[in-house]
Amino acid sequence: MDVATFRGRFPDLSKAAKLKDLMFLSRACNIHWIVAALKNVEYKNLRQLTIRLETADEPEETDDEDWQDLDRLLVQFWTSYSIRPQLGYAPDSKGRERVRLPDLLPELTKRELVDLVEYSHPA
């Protein structure tokens, strides 16, 4: 995936005022669009937030700044809106866990504000 193609682009969900259930699926190396989209979401009716991440077989670089943003944002979700996110994680095709979510989302995991779920790769 050409991550650069997606850099700076994100879906604007601000008009979806009745949104109750929101799910993102993405590669773990490309969460910038998720962070950007979450900053514009209308939370009034939101009840459930799910993020599912996949990793490739080859190691990929993750953007620490994006993960720090996501960590802060999800903590804020809980404190401000009582939304407890669920993070799904698919290991690579050999079952290896390339990205350790607790390391990338330290505050969220330390305060136990997230449900971490492993799911099988869709491919």
Binding site: M1, T5, F6, R9, F10, P11, D12, L13, K15, A16, A17, K18, L19, K20, D21, L22, M23, F24, L25, S26, R27, N30, W33, A37, N45, P122, A123
Partner: protein, 291 residues
Amino acid sequence: MGIGPSDPAWRGYIMLVGTVGITSDACKMTMMSRPLPPEILGLVIDQLYDEPTTLRACCLVSKSWIPQTRRYLFAHVDFGVSVHTFESWMRVFLDPSNTPAHHTRSLTIRNLPTSVPTGTDVGGWIRAFSNVVHFHFDPSVGAGHDFSLTPFLGFSPAIRSLRMTSTTFEVFDLVCSFPHLEDLALINLSPEDGTVGWSAPLTSPKLTGSLDLCPIRGLHSAVRRLSDFPNGLHFAKIAMSCGLGQDFTWATDLVSRCSETLETLNLRCFLVGTFSSAPPDRPEPYHPSWT
């Protein structure tokens, strides 16, 4: 204490009669001397809706039992590629106006006939499925890629759910031909053919259910077509795959158009063509043994 139709013991008794008891002399005599009233027979058959073996046995009991059993035997029809094909259906039911197709509520077609005699109106057999509510067309495993969707236009006004896999942009004419359509899934939608013209439809379904949009290359053309629908878009659930950078712009556009109704959103961002969503939860189709 008696047992009623909802009691498991009653259901077990019915299955026993359906599979074994019908061969007993006592049962034969009973059937010959006094047929079951239709409403009682209906209750019996209703209990066997998911027991195809027993239903087939019931078909052999009496001609009067056939219509009731066919209601369930042909409720879910799945035309495969090698066996139980559409061609075998046409061979068995030579007259398209006299088939059990009107019992079918869920229809899946994975392949279409390629070698029919000249002048054969395949559309006649398709239109016989006039009460289908869920329609899934998936020619990706068969030879149906180049088959025109024209025979399917409006074939069942009752359709609520349409799932098209590996299809072309011709599908949007099909969508507009089903007035009560609620749920739409377009999986592996081929890139738009620039040579085919498109004019905004005069009417369109309200589309109040779910949309699953997974084009092979970009959301752009699909969202533009949907935006031309005169009755607007009212989806409560949307799942879509973004494979190109500009897809986020079109995702935003689609979300805005459904902002009054949208409650569930599933956004996927993957490399183009690497993702295909799982089929919806549906009862397993029953493959009738007409061959």
